[in-house]
Symmetry: D2
Subunit: 343 residues, 4 copies
Amino acid sequence: MVIIMNPDATRENIENVVEVIENAGLEAKVMEGTQQKIVGVIGDKTKLGQTPFGAMDGVEKSVEISKSYKLASREFHPKSTVVDVDGVKIGDGNFVVMAGPCAVESREQLFEAADIAKKGGAQMLRGGAYKPRTSPYSFQGLGEEGLKYLAEAKERTGLKIVTEVTEVETVEQVAYYSDLLQIGARNMQNFRLLKEAGRCNKPIMLKRGISATLNEWLNAAEYIMNEGNQNVILCERGIRTYETYTRNTLDLSAVPAVKHLSHLPIVIDPSHGTGKWRMVKPMAFAAVASGCDGLIMEMHPNPAKALSDGAQSLTPENYLSLMDGVKKIHSFLEDEGLLLKTV
Amino acid sequence: MVIIMNPDATRENIENVVEVIENAGLEAKVMEGTQQKIVGVIGDKTKLGQTPFGAMDGVEKSVEISKSYKLASREFHPKSTVVDVDGVKIGDGNFVVMAGPCAVESREQLFEAADIAKKGGAQMLRGGAYKPRTSPYSFQGLGEEGLKYLAEAKERTGLKIVTEVTEVETVEQVAYYSDLLQIGARNMQNFRLLKEAGRCNKPIMLKRGISATLNEWLNAAEYIMNEGNQNVILCERGIRTYETYTRNTLDLSAVPAVKHLSHLPIVIDPSHGTGKWRMVKPMAFAAVASGCDGLIMEMHPNPAKALSDGAQSLTPENYLSLMDGVKKIHSFLEDEGLLLKTV
Amino acid sequence: MVIIMNPDATRENIENVVEVIENAGLEAKVMEGTQQKIVGVIGDKTKLGQTPFGAMDGVEKSVEISKSYKLASREFHPKSTVVDVDGVKIGDGNFVVMAGPCAVESREQLFEAADIAKKGGAQMLRGGAYKPRTSPYSFQGLGEEGLKYLAEAKERTGLKIVTEVTEVETVEQVAYYSDLLQIGARNMQNFRLLKEAGRCNKPIMLKRGISATLNEWLNAAEYIMNEGNQNVILCERGIRTYETYTRNTLDLSAVPAVKHLSHLPIVIDPSHGTGKWRMVKPMAFAAVASGCDGLIMEMHPNPAKALSDGAQSLTPENYLSLMDGVKKIHSFLEDEGLLLKTV
Amino acid sequence: MVIIMNPDATRENIENVVEVIENAGLEAKVMEGTQQKIVGVIGDKTKLGQTPFGAMDGVEKSVEISKSYKLASREFHPKSTVVDVDGVKIGDGNFVVMAGPCAVESREQLFEAADIAKKGGAQMLRGGAYKPRTSPYSFQGLGEEGLKYLAEAKERTGLKIVTEVTEVETVEQVAYYSDLLQIGARNMQNFRLLKEAGRCNKPIMLKRGISATLNEWLNAAEYIMNEGNQNVILCERGIRTYETYTRNTLDLSAVPAVKHLSHLPIVIDPSHGTGKWRMVKPMAFAAVASGCDGLIMEMHPNPAKALSDGAQSLTPENYLSLMDGVKKIHSFLEDEGLLLKTV
């Protein structure tokens, strides 16, 4: 951490800052120039806790330099993590696709979707049983019934199941029926839910919050990992910006950023990332080339009748065409040694 | 709702859209120009559910025109709501101040803060017992012990208590010890928590999400109200923008916007809104003049020793000076008939 | 400046960074902890030019700590600047209002607007002769003819004239007819125009760019001042955020921020800041209470017939009512010693 | 356009709106439901000019539905445009790379960069002679001398020249020495410069503004095209968001969006888009797979000594490695029929 003093900070102001640092058992280094005085801190900064230097006399501001997450950091864990989802490995160079409807609407709809997902080559089936919706009047999901259909679809197709958990009370239930628990963008800083997920024995897919920084996202992963669950997959799903043509702005640069900062695998959601089915294929291709570990996409047997997110869902035909391209591109990159692993 | 067709949409495409609308028992009106074809929908749009027009052939996009929230809308409830917090009225022209430390750190710290809050003229005491923190290694609050100190501080000073609830499991507990439950920015779309708050018999203060639109915020209030609890106070606390000089960008225009769109009272949090104690006073004065119903502010007996948010906490001295100004400005505006109620 | 090294940076990497700093005649201070190695730089950092430390081996990133603007900085010029616009002083505690139509549409329209502006107590008349418009097919202004009407309106009412200059070629012409040249948000980083404005003998009002940081804004002012023109007034007019209910998000915290960082006066534009006439009055009141030096607002004799920005223009009636409040509030704050000057 | 009336709008209010529309020679269609009244407009909306419906009594807001740009729109010009830059075609499926230093610093530096660019397979050389810089104290470029070096580098290598023009006065000069004129992000709404570029006989590369919407960007292209120059290439270079880890957030979804909305070619700038050399390669690969028409990248013989943008510049070694991958990926996509042209 570096503390920047006001131009008119007194000697006493600086000494007070140094004292606080030294009292925490750390070393302070003062740098004084004609324009500026700064105090650097060396050592384990967690000892400083949340010391509010900004509230001390003579301080202009403090700048955090070290990361507050450790378990999620590549610095402390250089080797890339491979997450095992009931036999499907994510993070080892393999490319994993999760596909299926936004919401489980009925057994028939889900089975139809599962068959198509399987046919296209996905390894996992997605489908929401608990749906977080902006309006209380929107379809909220089938709940446990939906989870049962998902488990049946797994038996039928062998596809592993990923589904969202939105509440602490249902973590156990969702973990019972599924293979990978998704924590959605709106819950990325629902810390109680993160902790519960950290105590669960299934892997977790943590979506980036709607306007979360990379730092906040990796700290959210830290909450899960700090409870003992190291099997965390990150999922970039677009961030909120001023642009309204797309539902969100898909930040593909999160892929190399996460690969640099963390050892956790990262997958891309081009469906939420764009909000428009027309844009899913080009963004899926781009995601593969960026070096991510997989994709999660919305596909519906009949998007025009979907109970949620129809506008961003692929038709079976478009899905199959997309998958054909994704597989070819990934194989090519692998064969040519062009897959970017760490950056 | 208005559905905009592609320039090359066929007659059949338009008829399909019209059919979906009419099947839902609504009236469709087609407008065709040389450049453009659009279909308007008349009637109760909730009947359309989430029909994904964007997934239908020939459709460019659909534009929502009506609000999805009803209970929170001024349109359906023209009279301004007055929320009663154990005798303190918010929303009736009275100006309510909630002040206190970010976190309850100890009985002594809280009692000292409460005495100062009272002296300055606040009607309510704030203080967090459960703290949502970006990093799992930051101080997480004293929990129930903190709530007990808050209840004791109320006995001592008569100040009403507002404190944050972060989990479904503790709603009852927090409601037991406090007078107004705060739902924080990170939980604004924690729908399960919103519903639980809606079943609670205490009023709720709902903070705007870190990057929530006004529409999402009012829909979040709708979740609470839809469960039966109409006593909702909105709190603007700054939104996330590209500017990093301030912690958030305080959006004071939310005051007239909310007064126009909704009947619920709105208070301003200039502490989180700016992140810098130096800016709290000018923004508090501005907030009063904007016509809001109150303020919530962080004040600490000794900000430089605060366990959280010290940099944005007022010292007792600055707090008392601020309160003196706030009271004068509000009285003046009231006397001169310059308080802006509905807009 | 502080240079943060990678965890695996070598001794040689650090020595290379130190060498670059010392070669520039500056002092480098290395701080090494177990987690982290950083290099601090002391002295006049402009000597380092744009040294791209981020491109050197072993460097994670560099963090700028000192400001790159000097002339606009309060640090180097503690006394607040008072700008004299043909006798009207801005920045000395006086409150200055500039009102008038978005665009000069005709002599009659402008004269009518000028008479109303004057009646309400504004000291300056605004009106665009050269209009920057998103679409080339929108009304682009009357050009020199508009400037002449403005000059006539000044003769008629005594109001000083503020109008936008959009091109280097017309700086001289606009300066001839007006008293204060506005550089609009879209041109805030039109550096050639800034330099030309810096060579002009009239004061300049520099609007904040649509998504400009405070740092970029003050650097833009520096461009003008560096050419010799110290008479710069800053104007906050709303920034671009994800919220679409308002045209922009008015950032009133720019007032205390600018008062802290700079000695230049700052005025607020609640018309562009909100885009809705209904919100102009509450935001104008809030602006006064925030401690700004003045307002610039759009008012039109008949907004429903305006050729541009009608939706955010005040009617004469609303303008007069607003002005009555603004004057009362400012006088009250002044009398009570509640005007916030430096922060 | 659709005009949404207030819930309490009177019959007279609606009639007034209809009258304005009909007076402009257009047809109005009123839709009235129990909750809502809206008025649709049919016909050539440019006849309405900028009619400020938002200022009329009883109007809540108006929603624009049709695009204001025509010449840049695919709707009116379905065939993709191919721009010819002195023999190099952009937009016909060919993949074009522009590489070189941020700024021309010396003849030697530029020639060295040109040789490497050529060796890697770029068809064009980039290099700034006029540099727009945030601070007036940063290196501002060599001016005409830099342009001469660029022209010499073309003679030497055969690479076509792209360089930025920042001022109306130098358009002719820059057009004389170069093959493609770049209008930078900060000047995207410098309308005077756009018009001048529109009168120039060289093609123009228009960068997206720092926080420009797709709609504003295409309207900026319209300014150029409306003056007669149809040879416009769009360049996405990252947009400003709340995330600070990257310099900008590269919006690759602009590729399919532009291909859908417009017939103009689009290239990607992963250097400015990320601000970090480490991220340029993965984003370049992703860009190719997204279906864009080319890349523009910063490469410097010695980034650690660059006078600007060193931290995002590729070393020769990294550049050559990147180019090898880009060429392979593009060829593969082409051979497999996976290049996405229109979306």
